[in-house]
């Protein structure tokens, strides 16, 4: 009997207690599992940070492993139908799907990661990961002995191409002999295939592996083969301590908390956010002092300072495209518009961006 009373009272407190507080529901669409220790993992870390900051004023939900096709429409619609107030769709190719659902739910706020199309109730946000790529490129230019860099790329979207270019420009600046070998694997998430690509690049002479895919398989392959690697999205040092130089970490928490707070306060408005190191959205993992000389670590740290205060920009002219045309004149930096739509390699990179 006591048990029944306890149950009933808990039930009442939960139903009416929460109804009284009226917490806002925040939903997330993830492309992979939160346990990938990469892209989705960091969004999930951001989600948890948001929960810790806003406490009882919000509740959060996430749907994981949502493919970037019509399934995404169903998933987003499901969140919208179940009374969510704010929905984050955390992959570039959810763009059309997000807008399709957003049209039908004008009162629900949507946030589309790495997108570039906004609407009254759809904001976009991204991080300037290319700032981190510049630092990685600088380090790679110094650390490579074979002058060959292996780059594992996922899909030919501006985000990835921009990273390749930023990396190459910085690497070629310190080491003009540098060569980039790029493999497009056409997946964000396939540990086996990522390892194959890393091994293929190492087999072709690359002694530094860079990845723009989501698992730590490439770093692990590098560790096994005795070459260096950069991790992706989160600090991956524990999986490949003898290979890992640093990682670019995506820190979404503060942004998520701020946007959710805006919904709670009723001040949310659409817009485009593209923050970098200066706002703490892009952070470099601790540089590996067992592998890198202290002077190089210092240079990397100085670069971070320069990027934060705006004196260093990864895309500072003169920059030429592969055809030899000047795309960014000397003394100028590439405008955000060019960066957002970047679909060409800069001069010096072999091959073509797949169409």
């Amino acid at each position: 009997m006591i048990r029944i009373i306890t149950f009933l009272s808990t039930f009442l407190v939960f139903t009416f207690g929460s109804a009284y507080a009226d917490p806002k529901k925040v939903g997330f669409i993830y492309i992979g599992p939160p346990g990938d220790h990469g892209w989705t993992y960091m969004h999930d870390v951001g989600r948890k940070y948001m929960e810790s900051q806003l406490g009882d004023s919000i509740t959060t939900t996430y749907l994981e492993n949502i493919p970037e096709n019509a399934d995404a429409v169903r998933a987003i619609r499901k969140l919208a139908d179940s009374g969510h107030d704010l929905i984050f769709t955390t992959s570039f190719n959810y763009m059309d799907q997000t807008h399709e659902v957003a049209k039908d739910f004008p009162d629900i706020k949507f946030e589309h990661a790495t997108g570039y199309i906004q609407a009254d109730n759809v904001a976009t946000y991204s991080a300037r990961f290319y700032e981190g790529r510049m630092i990685e490129g600088h380090i790679a230019g110094h650390m490579t002995e074979t002058n060959t860099i292996g780059y594992i790329a996922s899909f030919p979207i501006p985000e990835v191409v921009r990273g390749i270019n930023a990396f190459y420009l910085a690497a070629a600046k310190v080491n003009p002999d540098i060569k980039m070998k790029i493999i497009w694997v056409f997946t964000w998430y396939d540990p086996g295939k990522e390892a194959d690509a890393a091994n293929t690049l190492i087999n072709q002479g690359a002694d530094i592996i860079v990845q723009h895919t989501d698992t730590y398989a490439p770093c692990q392959a590098a560790q096994k083969a005795g070459v260096y690697a950069f991790g992706q999205a989160s600090n991956q040092e524990e999986f490949c301590p003898d290979a890992h130089l640093t990682s670019i970490e995506d820190i979404w928490g503060p942004y998520y908390a701020a946007r959710a707070k805006a919904v709670v306060d009723g001040t949310w408005s659409s817009g485009d956010t593209w923050d970098g190191m200066d706002k703490g959205m892009v952070v470099m993992s601790p540089y590996n002092n067992k592998l890198m000389p202290a002077s190089l670590i210092q240079e990397a740290v100085n670069m971070e300072v320069g990027i934060k205060d705006g004196t260093i920009h990864p895309f500072t002219g003169p920059i030429y495209n592969q055809a030899g045309e000047l795309v960014v004149p000397e003394g100028e930096v590439a405008p955000d518009g060019m960066l957002l739509g970047m679909n060409f390699y800069v001069q010096g990179i072999d091959g073509e961006v797949p169409q």
């Binding site: 346990g35 070998k181 493999i183 694997v185 540990p191 086996g192 390892a195 194959d196 072709q204 698992t215």
Partner: protein
Amino acid sequence: MNLDLILGILQIVLIATTPLVFAGIGELVTEKSGVLNLGVEGMMLVGAVSAFIILVITGSYFLAFFVSILSGIIMSGLFAFLVLFLMSNQIATGLALTIFGIGLSSMLGKQYIGTPIDGLSPWFFVIFSFLIVFLVSYFFYKTKAGLVLRAVGESHNSAHALGYSVIKIRFLSILFGGSMCALAGSYISICYAPMWQEGMTAGRGWIALALVVFATWKPERVLIGAYIFGGVTILQMNLQALGLRFPGQFFSMAPYVATIIVLVLISSNKLRIKLSAPASLTLPFYKGR
């Protein structure tokens, strides 16, 4: 091209293709007995996660593979019970098994994601994969038991009339298929990419299924087909890395396109279908009719 480079490519191809061979040959034996099990991907994932968990807990590679194969037997045993005794639809049950396997493996592996382990050298399994293909081939075409298994797949009523236990033979074939799929999964999580990640088989189960059709239900051709599928993937990576212009998207879908082409070729001629696909594939067997 120097020799080291070519040897390196060969190594990567061998390591990458082995799970396809295991899963493909397992599914082939199941289908030869007249049962289509679409649960390959699910069984691989459960096999992968159970091997990983046991390795983390006990540190024993032997136990890891043993338990993994056991998990494959349990998963496929469940499937066998449903389709052989309860006569459930094989296609629906197989799909359900895959969905179940994806969910079960995610749930079991949740707290093991990101646990670092020492990977095992793949070479024993690479050699074993070749061996198993030739053993299966020998079994099918040189032993009486193999002939009976094929007979059950071609015409279960005739086999039954001759006094063979259709249910028992199919049950064992399904269990063999399940254990091979689990072995493929554990190879992936212990040797190929030593880690546990949700859904880490990334569609290889479906490629294995396509492979059986591509191989027109012949064991040696499973081996050949697997190496064509695996080799093409690695080859295009090498061409990309050499800076050649290459449509990578095309090669991601190549296995499926090749399978469709083979299907069209064999189905353009009724005789060819008869010679290839087991005639009783997916048909339920009702004893005493």
